[in-house]
Every structure is written in C-alpha cells, then in structure tokens.
Symmetry: C2
Subunit: 340 residues, 2 copies
DNA sequence: CTGAAAGCGCTTACAG
DNA sequence: CTGAAAGCGCTTACAG
C-alpha cells in the first residue's frame, strides 16, 4: 500500500479559504489572525490530518527541532548504561510533549565527541546538546561556545564558561556515607573511584578526604576507569594491604558488584568482614547477594530537568542553573558493624 | 563569540564560477559535470568549509537523513540496557560514515511506539526504523507497511509481512546449551524465560522443549517479564519444587545474576548444587561470583548489519534477509557436573 | 486582523 | 557536459 500524500499548509489554506501565512500563524498560536479564523483553520488542519514537516519548519525557522546527546565511552567501560538509559528516558519525557527529537551518538573518545559537535552544528542538526562527564578543565566548553551551540552541563557543579548546569550535591552525600560507616565503627575506609579527570570524581574524592580527616578515619582512594575489571583489580589491591580497610565505597554499581565478588573470592564475607557501599543505586544493587547499600537518586528526573534547562536555553538564549536533591543513602545487606 | 555564518552552495557556486546545480551534482558525485569542474568545485567547497545543511537537503530530496529506534519498555524492565547500548553503538558505527543520524525514543509500551511511528512518518523525521522485540503476530508490521516507512526486524526470524529481517539462530544455540548440560549429567533442567509474547522467547522455548525431549531430560519453562525481580521469583519457585532442577537457563544476564543470588539465599551452592547459564553474555556475567557461563554474541556487529540492511532498504527499496552467527557458549564457573 | 511574497539551502527535471 | 528555474513545506517581515 502506497503512503498517502501528506497535506501541507497550502492544502489547509485552500480548504479554509485563507492564505498560507494565516495558516502558519494560526497553527503556531501567533497573533495575526482572529480567534474565529484560528479555530476554523485548526479544525480544517485536524480534519485533513495535517502534521508539520519537521524539515520544512527547521529550514524556514532555522531551528532543527532536535537536541543531541553524545556519549563518549571506550568499549571497555561498560556499566554506565543504567545511568544513561535512565537519563535518556527522563530527557525524552520532557522532549516528547514539545515534539523535539533526541539525536544520540555513541563515540569512542572526547575528540570524536567534539567532531560530532562540529558536524551537528555545521549541518544544523540540533538546537542544543547535553554535556556529560564534565572535566574540571573541559575542551568541549570552549568548542561549544565558539560554535554558538547551546548546551547544558549535566552533573557538573563548578564553572564551565557560560554554560548553565544541573547537578546534585555529591559532597553532601559523601559526608552522609562516611558518617554512617563511622557510626558502624569503621576506622579504615577505602574508596574505589572513577576517572580522576572527571569533575564529579574529584568532588567526591575531595569530600571523602575531608570528612574522613574530620572524623579521624584512615582513608585511601584508588582511581579506575569505571570498568568492572579495574574495580575488581582495585579491590584486590586494597584488600591485600595490612591493615586492610573494613569498608569500601565504590563510584558505580558495576564496580561495587565486581568488588563484592572479589571479596568473596578472597575469603572475606560481606558484610561481616567487609562493608560495601555503591554509588548510583540500580536494579543490580538490589539483585546481587548480599544486596548492596547504595546511593540512590532520581536520574530520570535529572534528565527531565536537564531537558527543561536546555530547551529554555536554546529558545530564550538564557537559563539559570539548577540543583537537584542530593543522592539518598539506601542501606541494605552489604553494610554492618566493623569487625573487631 | 557569534557563530560565523555558514557557506551555502550559492557561495560555493559564486566562488567557483558555476551554477548552484553544478555544485550540487559535483558534491553528490552525480554525472552532469566534468571531472575537472568537479575537482575545482570540491576544492572551493573545502576551502570555504562548506557542509551540507541536513534540513535543506532533507526538504529538497524528501529524505530525512535519519533513522529511528524506539525502545518500548516499562520502567520496571531494566536489565536490557546492555543489549540496547551495544546494538546502538553498532548501528552508529555504520551510520556515522554515511552521515545519517539516529533518532532514539524510549516509550512505555507498544501503543506509544506505534504512535511514534505515526508522528515520525507524518513529520518526515526518519527514512526508516529498526523493529526490536518482535512478536509472533505484531501490530507494528502492518502499521509500518501502511505508512510506507521502511523498516527492518532486528532479531526476528519468521514472517513479518514484507519487512526484511536479521537474526541469529537461537534454536541452535539452545541445543548447544542443553547438550552441554546433559553431558554434565544434568537430567532436570529448568528455564527462566522472558516475555512469552516475544518471538525470540518462543523460539527458544520450543527449541528447549524439543532438545530436552530428544535427550529424555525433564524440563520446565517459567515465563517472566525479563526483570530481575521476576527472575528471582521464578528461581525461588523452581528451587522449591521436589525434585528440584539441577540446572537453570536464564533468558538474560540480569535474571541470571538475580537467580544466582536467590540460590545463595536458599543455601544452594553454585555450581556444586546448581548450574546456571545466562543468555546474552555481558560484563555482569564475568564480574559476579561465580562468573556465569553464558551465551555470547557480537551484538555490536548485529547492529552494524541491521543498519546496513535498513539503509539498503530505504535507498533501494529492497533488501534481503541476513543471518548472523549463532550465540557461542562461553563456559565459566557457574556450571559443573550435576549433584549425585 | 489579513494577504501576497520572499526566502530558508538544497535537489532535480528540463532545456540548451 | 552545463545553466537557469522550479520546487520541497514551511516562516516571517512587509504592505495593506
């Protein structure tokens, strides 16, 4: 069956007995047409099953009607999927109502990400982009400003040129975690961190260091690339030290699961010999044995808010920052009183 | 810094001293311009930093320059992320070179998915779509044919109207798994399956049933919604039966991990008391303790091939089917000889 | 409040 | 092989 030819505003105009311009004004809710005519035009458009052509609209208005998200990630660093899928579903919940599309691009590294921004900008593909995994000094910020491509920084407190940002207070949450472990008599706590060049890693590392110092707790942070393999390696190294830490805080769920398996493999029972806390709660944390104590946040809402910010920014040209609630500590079976 | 005005083919034409039409022919590699002029035009375009406007091109050629993927999934059914992220990265590896964009939409259910196809089609958003999680009788097939929207069925052997499809032989792989377990002396094997309305679930269920029957193995299949929670429930129910199965085959990695935790919780040691096999190997399967024996396939390549098929289809109007290699069995620590 | 017209940046028959 | 022109489906000043 051949696709039926779609009606255009010219068809609507003819049917309604008005000009194409009038139809455009009516459909876009702009002044320039009386309420009566507007209603009639909308009726005709509805009857004809008219739908805007996104490309025609984009060409005429020089808007793309789409925003973009680039995920830069080497193939080895899996385990960030849950975060991104939840973020994406939140973003789309916000975009759907405004009939803005989301372009997704998965690339290997930052250079490829920047190249994508150049291409998208040159081809008028998107009206704005989401920036994730922000670095303390991030080359993408300058590129986007130079391209004049609106952007919001997702998950990045700190200064990023003129870009608006949305974040939640990881430092606060880190304080909660450490004080909770301290209350369980842990005096030696180690942290398996993510990539040290990521701003959110740095913020957590610094907060971890400070709150441990203030409580007189012996601490140590090992950096990884966020992968389960490096998480396992780091856990092995930490548990081989003397004296060994009695609690481990991981920067993501996959590393925490890997760390839990390593503890088991080395003969340490969780939580009797070792307590484990995972950043970013996920279905994984609930399903493994023992279920992992974790830091939960509403990533989907985070995505919705990020999308609101980006749309405001790309339409009005300005947008403030936004702070979402800090992650909550969800205690489960992987944390207990420290061994004597 | 203001974004610099991008050059158009009019600028290129002026600089090269030819008409806009000639520029278009030259840039698109079409006949209608001599090799000499073509080279000169390409040179000028390069010097000027010209890039095609995707929207103008789409409007004029009535191509969108984009393809779409809708992921229909209730929020509860997490754990399919790894599959989709790998599929997406494969798809994009193929699209990138042809400067086709990928539109992604995450929706709650099949109705919303169908609505997305209507909208995309009406708005000329995409040139084609990928259909995943195909049902035996699938309402989407008729909708897409009626819309005249090119599509390929990803992971669906069987008949789906006129749509081309790409798949791998799950039935063969299921035979491999069961024969492997039979060789380890397992005589009672149960399967924690995914959604029974999905075609790939049905294919696996049927193959499981047949090969078990041919080997005289007692079998049982429990259906779930693919979620870790239902996987855990199903495992609990299966391990509570008398006599209980000595091996469990799960339809995805997250359910297998959950099932492994349930076994532990109920006092059964893996693999001593119970063997576990997971469909779709992932980093998760490698990282838990014990690491899970799994069925691995190259999902990224699967995505690349699906994209090739879709692009062929949407350009030429026709495309054959494609079969990728069947999943391979990767034995790890979760399978062993059946308990006596 | 309304209409006629130009223009967004391309592609593509159609003449030469 | 090449050029001039119409057209894709909208938006948006610009006159009335």
């Amino acid at each position: 069956m051949a696709p039926t030819k779609r009606p255009t505003i010219a068809d609507v105009a003819r049917s309604a007995g008005v000009s194409k311009g009038a139809v455009s004004y009516a459909l876009n809710g702009l002044p320039g047409v009386s309420e009566l005519t507007r209603a009639r035009i909308l009726g005709v458009a509805g009857d004809l099953g008219w739908q805007p052509s996104s490309v025609a609209r984009a060409l005429a208005a020089s808007r793309a009607g789409a925003v973009g998200l680039v995920i830069a990630r080497p193939a080895s660093t899996l385990g960030v999927e849950m975060f991104y899928m939840q973020l994406i579903s939140g973003i789309e919940a916000e975009l759907a109502g405004r009939s803005v599309a989301l372009l997704l691009q998965v690339v290997a590294d930052l250079d490829a990400e920047i190249e994508t921004y150049h291409r998208w900008s040159a081809q008028h593909r998107v009206d704005g982009v989401f920036l994730t995994d922000i670095r303390e000094v991030d080359p993408r910020v300058g590129v986007l400003e130079e391209l004049g491509l609106p952007a919001v920084v997702v998950g990045g407190k700190g200064r990023h040129g003129s870009l608006p940002r949305i974040w939640s207070d990881d430092a606060l949450a880190m304080g909660t975690v450490v004080r909770y472990l301290a209350a369980l008599d842990h005096r030696r706590i180690a942290r398996v961190a993510g990539r040290p060049d990521f701003l959110h890693t740095q913020i957590r590392t610094e907060a971890f260091h400070e709150v441990c110092a203030s409580l007189g707790i012996t601490e140590r942070t090992v950096a990884t690339d966020f992968s389960g393999d490096q998480g396992a390696d780091a856990t092995r190294a930490l548990l081989s030290r003397t004296p060994r830490p009695t609690a481990l805080v991981f920067d993501n769920d996959v590393m925490a699961v890997a760390g839990s398996a390593v503890a088991h493999e080395m003969g340490f029972a969780v939580p009797r010999d070792l307590s484990i806390v995972a950043w970013d709660d996920s279905v994984l944390c609930r399903l493994v044995h023992p279920p992992l104590t974790a830091l939960a946040r509403d990533i989907s809402a985070f995505g919705r808010h990020a999308a609101q910010l980006l749309l405001t920014r790309s339409v009005s040209g300005v947008a403030g920052d936004r702070e979402d609630p800090p992650p909550r500590l969800v205690p489960r079976g992987s944390t207990a009183v420290a061994p004597a």
